[in-house]
């Protein structure tokens, strides 16, 4: 049963082979069984069973939509009314959101059944899910390895078949990197395609929500629900949402795929290099044409990202002051003490580090040298992609330089950790969509590759990923513990 996809469950629900309640119960058991992965912060058993019951009633009345009764989980970064929304921080350990994020509302109105809130790096800052107030998440392929981050709980849960699908967010690779480490499909849509309202902000100009699933087909189904204009988000894109499942079966004949030769040199794990080479052959057999391109400013990506993302985060996280909600230090001596202790006691060290970087680059005397310079570099990076898309439809790139690393391997060296984001972060700065799909193994660990498209090219990315998955089986492989 665990190897069915979301699309399979759709059919089973439609044909009434299974009820929503049965499905919810089954996955709630899965969650309990795999609790040691620590992929969940909150399990919503009561609420989920009520929603499932309601879904079954709707179905009985003939009022079910395509996603009615489908179980899933939200990353604990999305505000859920009446349910704890912690962002994996001690700061929000007691925060019961008084409102729903727009996509929480959207998925609920589609009839989907939310089973819980997944673990993550605190405030989405991290690439290993080791920065959670609720403890690290284990990679289901190897419990000694990290699942990636920041959407590590969602990735681990989907990979271990604890749930059929989950939401994630991606600021610099936080959907794609854990998807690669855990061997699942993860789509980071175009910036603004999915509303950010109620999604706790890390870096506002980079953050984007997206689906994390077993297959590209499932990702398309979820994106259909998640995408769309939101008047409550000024940066949300006011363009029509196509049916993302409509073009999945288009032929790849003549599709031009860009390859950046320098991405495949030193620094890339040979197993990933080989897996992608084999995938290229598959894609060529499907009719795709490979074109060599260059992103000349790509070496600016990591520093640019850490300046911009940290600057935005230092300001976004100023609201956590112990006054209106969240953690408040005991017996503050005065106002300054209230601020300093509430924030210092409740933020983890990675969050503090980013706040420090961001405060520094915005401070008087450094703003022009760091922040403005980074914003200029951001334009160079974005323009590189626009030039590339004159010659190619999509770009194929590794998602990560290495497979999942060992827990604690990089946690003492932030620079080393930041460098592992090399392939993912420029995409966020350009606001582009990209999808990670599994493409092979390095030993017992899955590895992924990503397709990057131009703005609003999600249909094309899903089409390519789906076609690849029609003729390969990497995405069907599941870790042993799920069997």
């Amino acid at each position: 049963m665990t190897h069915y996809t979301l699309a399979d469950y759709q059919q089973q629900l439609a044909s009434k082979d299974i009820s929503s309640v049965e499905l919810a119960q089954f996955f709630l058991q899965q969650m309990a069984k795999h609790a040691h992965l620590n992929s969940f912060i909150t399990v919503c058993e009561q609420e989920a069973l009520l929603q499932a019951k309601h879904a079954d009633e709707l179905r009985a009345q003939g009022k079910a939509g395509p996603l009615t009764g489908i179980p899933f989980a939200h990353k604990d970064i999305f505000c859920t009314k009446g349910i704890k929304t912690s962002c994996a921080s001690k700061m929000l350990d007691n925060f019961i959101a008084p409102y729903n994020a727009t996509i929480v509302d959207k998925m609920a109105s589609a009839g989907m059944v939310m089973l819980g809130k997944t673990n993550m790096d605190e405030f989405a800052m991290g690439s290993s899910n080791e920065n959670s107030f609720y403890g690290k998440v284990h990679n289901p392929w190897d419990l000694n390895c990290v699942p990636g981050g920041s959407s590590g709980g969602s990735a681990a849960a989907v990979a271990a078949r604890i749930i059929p699908a989950a939401t994630g967010t991606d600021t610099g690779g936080s959907i794609r990197q854990p998807a690669a480490f855990c061997g699942i499909t993860g789509l980071k849509p175009t910036y603004g395609r999915i509303s950010r309202y109620g999604m706790i902000a890390f870096a506002s100009s980079l953050d984007q929500a997206g689906p994390m699933t077993q297959t590209a087909f499932d990702a398309a189904i979820l994106l259909n629900v998640m995408a769309g204009f939101d008047p409550k988000d000024s940066t949300s894109l006011d363009t029509p949402v196509p049916d993302y499942t409509a073009n999945l079966n288009d032929s790849l004949k003549g599709v031009r795929i860009g390859i950046i030769p320098s991405f495949f040199g030193q620094g890339l794990h040979p197993d990933i290099n080989e897996a992608i080479n084999k995938s290229k052959t598959v894609l060529e057999q499907l009719g795709a044409v490979f074109v060599e391109i260059d992103l000349p400013h790509h070496d600016l990506a990591i520093p640019t990202y850490y300046v911009i993302a940290s600057a935005e985060c230092s300001s976004n996280l100023a609201r956590y002051d112990g006054v209106r909600y969240g953690y408040r230090a005991k017996n503050p001596e005065n106002l300054l003490d209230l601020y300093q202790r509430s924030r210092s006691e409740a933020f983890g060290s990675e969050v503090k580090r980013r706040i420090m970087i961001g405060t520094y680059v915005l401070s008087s005397g450094y703003y022009d040298a760091y922040y403005i310079k980074a914003q200029q570099a951001r334009r160079l990076l974005a323009e590189d992609y626009q030039n590339a898309f004159k010659y190619v439809d999509v770009i194929l790139s590794p998602t990560t330089p290495d497979p999942a690393f060992k827990i604690a391997e990089k946690s003492d060296d932030p620079v080393k950790m930041y460098l592992s984001d090399i392939y993912t972060i420029a995409v966020n700065m350009a606001g582009l969509p990209a999808i990670n799909i599994p493409c092979g193994f390095s030993g017992h660990l899955p590895v992924g590759m990503q397709f990057i498209g131009n703005h609003l090219s999600e249909s094309k990315l899903l089409n390519i990923a789906h076609q690849f998955q029609q003729v390969t089986s990497h995405h069907q492989k599941a870790p042993e513990i799920s069997l």
């Binding site: 925060f95 019961i96 008084p98 910036y191 603004g192 100009s205 008047p231 000024s234 940066t235 894109l237 006011d238 070496d299 600016l300 990591i302 520093p303 850490y306 300046v307 230092s314 100023a318 002051d321 006054v323 209106r324 909600y325 969240g326 408040r328 503050p332 001596e333 005065n334 106002l335 209230l338 300093q340 202790r341 924030r343 210092s344 933020f347 503090k352 580090r353 706040i355 420090m356 970087i357 405060t359 520094y360 401070s363 040298a369 760091y370 403005i372 310079k373 914003q375 200029q376 570099a377 951001r378 334009r379 160079l380 974005a382 932030p414 620079v415 930041y418 700065m429 606001g431 703005h455």
Partner: protein
């Protein structure tokens, strides 16, 4: 470039973070390493390049001037650490 402990303290104060001596020392060396990474952008010619704040050149959308929110004080203050008579309480603010 090097970042001194005093600079770290100044930044921490701006960010309202209280750092222990160990944290201050650690941050000083970590920030220094991180800013070494950043020198690559500083060595890039960016004259005349328009800084990019958003992924798109879109323009701000406007909402109509209408009251759409009602009084939700009780709901909002249920999650507040300290309130009295509908006010949020903080240690005395001296002006």
């Amino acid at each position: 470039m090097s970042i001194t402990n005093d600079e770290v303290k100044k930044i921490a104060h701006l960010a309202r973070l209280a750092l222990s001596t160990d944290e201050t020392n650690a941050f000083a060396s970590q920030l220094e390493n991180i800013f070494k990474l950043v020198t690559v952008i500083q060595n890039t010619h960016t004259d005349g390049i328009r800084p990019m704040s958003h992924p798109f050149d879109a323009k701000q959308r406007l909402r109509k001037d209408m009251v759409t929110e009602s009084n939700e004080r009780d709901i909002m203050q249920k999650i507040a650490p300290a309130t009295e008579l509908g006010l949020y309480l903080v240690p005395q603010v001296i002006e």
